[in-house]
Amino acid sequence: MPNHQIDPNKWIDLYSDYLFNYTITRVNDRDLAKDLVQDTFFAGLKSMKNFKGEASERTWLISILKRKIIDHYRKINSNKGKAEVRMSYSSDENEGDWLEERVADPFDKTAEDSIENTELGSAIHDCLGKLPEKQATVFKMKTILGYETEAICNELDITASNLWVIIHRARTAMADCMEKNWF
């Protein structure tokens, strides 16, 4: 008996930001991250019949996204590898050296930081997902995207005092949620 239902009509509202944050921390390119998220939704739509309901929709979409990211790196690495070998190593005796010279240290300090940041980003998006839609939208625009108060008021057609009330409620709820899940 499946525990989770699938409803693609809500995917963009519910998961696009979570998937985008997951992607951008791994590819570090805004446009590419957006394309990969879009491809993931399309792929999810095509393979909806394979959804068994054992995992949540979000987990299922993340598993598709992970494959998309791996495919992306496979694609660029195979192209990059070929170019580097062609450019720098022509003789047989040096063959293979380029790998050691060019590979990044996987235990670099920044890698650890990046993992923690990704987890923190996920925790923030989990808490944002629990807020009412308007509060989440205003909080994201003001706090994450750094929009000016006036720009948000114009875009959402609200007054500045209304914005600050929404921000106050969102911040209180976010601080409580993060206290439970992170602090």
């Binding site: 009509n9 930001d17 921390t25 998220v37 939704f41 003001k142 108060t149 601080a175």
Partner: protein
């Protein structure tokens, strides 16, 4: 009269504290907030929690889609969804 100008309510202090997180509070507002912080435990607790939230969001490098980016994805996805429904 001066007392009224310097002393603010807890709600107003929290409002200023929110504005401070986005560097939108004026010098005068910050002064009033600091006076309130010196004696009000509730405001102090709110301010610490609020500052912690700001630090954690700033340090996380968390990202989200811009409004137009999301609308773009939504529109293309909706087209794909409609195509699928018509098949």
């Amino acid at each position: 009269m001066k007392k009224r100008l310097l002393f603010i309510s807890c709600e107003e202090a929290q409002h200023i504290c929110d504005k401070t997180q986005y560097e939108e509070a004026t010098f005068w507002e910050k002064t009033k907030l600091n006076i309130r912080l010196s004696w009000c435990r509730i405001t102090r607790a709110y301010s610490i929690k609020n500052g912690k939230l700001t630090d954690i969001v700033n340090n996380s490098n968390v990202e989200c889609l811009k409004h137009n980016e999301r609308e773009d994805i939504k529109e293309q996805f909706q087209n794909e969804l409609n195509n699928q429904n018509h098949k």
